[in-house]
Symmetry: D3
Subunit: 239 residues, 6 copies
Amino acid sequence: MTRTNGRSQDEMRPAQITRNYTKNALGSVLMEAGDTIVLCTASSDDRVPFHLRGKNQGWITGEYSMLPGSTQIRSSREAARGRQGGRTLEIQRLIGRSLRSCVALDQLGERTITIDCDVLQADGGTRCASITGGYVALVDAINQLIKRGDITTNPVLHQVAAVSVGIVNDAICLDIDYSEDQFAQTDMNFVMTDHGEIVEVQGTAEGKVFTLDQLNEMANVARSGVFQLTELQKQALST
Amino acid sequence: MTRTNGRSQDEMRPAQITRNYTKNALGSVLMEAGDTIVLCTASSDDRVPFHLRGKNQGWITGEYSMLPGSTQIRSSREAARGRQGGRTLEIQRLIGRSLRSCVALDQLGERTITIDCDVLQADGGTRCASITGGYVALVDAINQLIKRGDITTNPVLHQVAAVSVGIVNDAICLDIDYSEDQFAQTDMNFVMTDHGEIVEVQGTAEGKVFTLDQLNEMANVARSGVFQLTELQKQALST
Amino acid sequence: MTRTNGRSQDEMRPAQITRNYTKNALGSVLMEAGDTIVLCTASSDDRVPFHLRGKNQGWITGEYSMLPGSTQIRSSREAARGRQGGRTLEIQRLIGRSLRSCVALDQLGERTITIDCDVLQADGGTRCASITGGYVALVDAINQLIKRGDITTNPVLHQVAAVSVGIVNDAICLDIDYSEDQFAQTDMNFVMTDHGEIVEVQGTAEGKVFTLDQLNEMANVARSGVFQLTELQKQALST
Amino acid sequence: MTRTNGRSQDEMRPAQITRNYTKNALGSVLMEAGDTIVLCTASSDDRVPFHLRGKNQGWITGEYSMLPGSTQIRSSREAARGRQGGRTLEIQRLIGRSLRSCVALDQLGERTITIDCDVLQADGGTRCASITGGYVALVDAINQLIKRGDITTNPVLHQVAAVSVGIVNDAICLDIDYSEDQFAQTDMNFVMTDHGEIVEVQGTAEGKVFTLDQLNEMANVARSGVFQLTELQKQALST
Amino acid sequence: MTRTNGRSQDEMRPAQITRNYTKNALGSVLMEAGDTIVLCTASSDDRVPFHLRGKNQGWITGEYSMLPGSTQIRSSREAARGRQGGRTLEIQRLIGRSLRSCVALDQLGERTITIDCDVLQADGGTRCASITGGYVALVDAINQLIKRGDITTNPVLHQVAAVSVGIVNDAICLDIDYSEDQFAQTDMNFVMTDHGEIVEVQGTAEGKVFTLDQLNEMANVARSGVFQLTELQKQALST
Amino acid sequence: MTRTNGRSQDEMRPAQITRNYTKNALGSVLMEAGDTIVLCTASSDDRVPFHLRGKNQGWITGEYSMLPGSTQIRSSREAARGRQGGRTLEIQRLIGRSLRSCVALDQLGERTITIDCDVLQADGGTRCASITGGYVALVDAINQLIKRGDITTNPVLHQVAAVSVGIVNDAICLDIDYSEDQFAQTDMNFVMTDHGEIVEVQGTAEGKVFTLDQLNEMANVARSGVFQLTELQKQALST
């Protein structure tokens, strides 16, 4: 089967990682996955959440936003409405958990690293692009902190990247874009390490329930996609 | 292996469903799963969300809250803080999607059914209990609407129930309670139909990543648990 | 005169107090007054309001909410709207003042006891039921604190209970329910001690003004009702 | 007994009502009661609350605020904090109910009259001054609407005014000021008509409970105070 | 050219400054400029903003509000809406900057003086009246603090006052009122010292752009107006 | 005099305008002024503000935000705090007024064009860059609407651009960057047309007041800067 966008079922969109995209944050990465573009910046702050104070432990958190002009129909600005929506909060909790999973928080010192993921252009898979790009911004920030002498041991445990898999017209399709997402029966997001282990799974059968076999198959396809992304991360970080 | 609570790995907590627990809502169900107690009520309203107006289609939504006194350390009241937290929004979005999946919305008429899930006592698995009990409250509400002549064809497609599975000390455990949840490496929630198909999967490796094989195994254990719950729903609804 | 509900003018609805209704809070009471059902829980916290810090004095506060499904027409959830309404704030201020009146705050230690009153089913008189049941939850919490050694002297000064009195069709009726409340000319709430002294009076002539003689008469009828409730509290606490 | 302020127990503070204090609102009254000064303005708007639309019925509502500089220790501005406090909401609900009681809403036409009560200087009894002054502003606004031909029949049923009574050192004192209020055992507010009938009673035994006899006595003293205020209203409106 | 209000182009409205208008705040000034009336009160607090703590430096801030009844069409109450609007925030930032410019903050001690400007009646130029009157309230408050011994050296550097200039029908008009403001092509506000130097300029060509020559001319006319106001301030403060 | 950044007093930073930077909005411009980078997108919506409905008139509005990672010390996200700050509201009101001034709103049809200005990297002058870039995004959006046939006559009246001028060490400096802004005595923003006429002036003497002559001189220097920017706009729009 060929998809409406001409890709084969297990084919990723072309992705690109640009480091040092802006200059003020400790880490700044422009993550592109097809037409989805997310600016991921990492900043460090000496304060930690209340329940961690005095425990010599760090924290990593994520924040997410879609710029109003990133979508075809303008998305209203959450700051103007006065509250972040449920989808936003759900996504930024996912980003935070995913990125915390790859760092030894007790080797980070008493500081919080915040990964801000602001979507400049949306074409599906923005939460996955945020995690994949956010990982690189996080590593850049940690390396800066090591360079400054603020951290002594590198606390990064493994890489983490994310990809979505959808079931469209009963076919399992990797890395679906917005045009496919609108008609997908199921939309799953897999967050995995560079060893192919699972950090997070989130899946919704919006149109039609799916079987355990399909879950299995989707996980396998996702793993092949994640491996391409972790490879890309490695290349980006080695230059 | 035996668990700290004496259960075997694939053993559910005793569950109980009490219908017509309160009298004012169309459906009112007290769902008990071990020491977790959730009051699920279903109410109907003639308005639908803006984007559905005039399309002769209904809507189902969920709201969730933990009563302040439901936890050992009092949970602060979200109404007093002035906003619902991210966890709450995430859970009520899950409840809404899960319950919408089992109803033909185009046979519901232009109305919204709201399922309110208020946790009276929390001991782990509150979102799963909300879905399992919420399904029964939803069916009761729909039956009332049919009785009143507001709905002509029964729009319910299949049953839906939910259960959590955790990895505790590297062992996969069904229906974990709060004492296990605190030490779980992984906490997954499976929402499934009475045919064992998947509606939603949500899983987080909070402490330690897991493999695709483990995902598979967890899904299988979950299915056995869901079957017990859908059986319980059937019994409750037949009396 | 007989009322629409068959009661005589000075007849209370059957009331029931169930202690230890849930297990996590220090005190947990299900208060039933006719078809009105309120879950009252009491929790303790080591912090006191800013202006009391360092004065070795405690504080008691109340919070109130109606579950959305507690009413025939669903009440919208205040946490979702982002603010507590005026009626809610008015009621929880009343609960707090009433329960503070019966405790020597300087013998409570530097802690706050919060009484959460969540209405599971509403049929009129919910604020009164909250106070009457809240008193029992408060006493249970204080007894737990004494047992733990956190409080040395019992700080409870007297009992407190509340009842509403209405003027319906020019007749003074004790403990009016929702069907009467809708047509009442006057709705008064009396909070009194077990010695028949007044802690709070709140009354509104919504439909028709009333005389000082009627105020007097209402107070007398209220006292007879409060005595039945304080008797019920005594029985509940003695078992 | 003489009070700290030299007044006898049943002596009111000197009060003054200045009409047309500002020029833009339909009614504008400066109400002075001793050192308490409240600016009461009445404005009319063609919209009514949702539940009254199309019923050819009007509505009257009150809003209340203390200017930050009205108190010795500056009161923080509620607009800056982002929410009105419980005390404010409680007071403005009282103002609204009190003023609605003296108007036949079905003769007001489909419009809302809002009475804004902004405290310029606070010295106790601000809610009572708001009601007493608000009544005059309301009458002025209604007369303007009659003059314009917007209302045909005068809908005012009776006058309404309010006064506080406190128990200070076991003595019942009329119209207590701030210095007395701080040490009062009981603080009651009586809203009454010019015929001495009761519209609202609100009383709190903040320090010490009180008897039914004392309630009676306070009501009688309040009535004598209210009569002085309704007389003052009559004079002000006749010039 | 004569204006609709009969004034010549460079003619100010009659202005009046009444000190000690209310008694609780440290400084309290009723500022009248034509029919615009603003109550300016100054209060002192021992706390300073976070970034100034421990630097032995003071702070001056302004808050602004229009009473709902101050305008012909009632202005909705910002506290009830739950947020201050953009215009309000813009104005109170202007008031704060203007008044900070005339005080040596390092001689004020670690305290914040808040100038509250509440508009009782609005007829154009309310932000300018707030600054002009606010200056006098500020000086009164500082003098009180000096008298109490809280400040040793007088920190006031110079006077500050403000006036608006508009272009109406291509004519430059000083101190425009509301009826002119509605049709003005340009509305500029000049904040100046008693030496005619500029503290703030804010101007908007709402209807028609203007030239640099016109900017110059407006500044000159404004200066003549400001001199009249600073003279009035001197007189008010000398009595 | 040479500035710390090596520029002469009347020298602008290198500026660059990139059109069609993202693909979903009608207009999308990346505006760079030195190290300040703002993404300006223009979107169109068929609704207009309430007071313009049915008048066959359009509206233009601006929204502004700094991405959290755009500054050296992370700026907290306004959506997470739940309200836009005063500075943000002040700036977006300025953007809206400036861009409305160059369009005949009655030829726009009943629609709102929103210009979103999101700062990707901040180095001073972000509000000016927002206006200069926003103008180009606005023109692109209008041209799209003309192309679609939604607008028949081109409603653009003139170009608009903005530049800041500061007084640093008593020297007037054009287009100051963040390092200069921190020490500037005065910071003024001039919004002008391509004919050198003034649309908006905003200036604050944060450290030291300034004279009318200096105001004049700053306006002249600003005009030379604006001409360079309007030239750049012309070039960008002609390709």
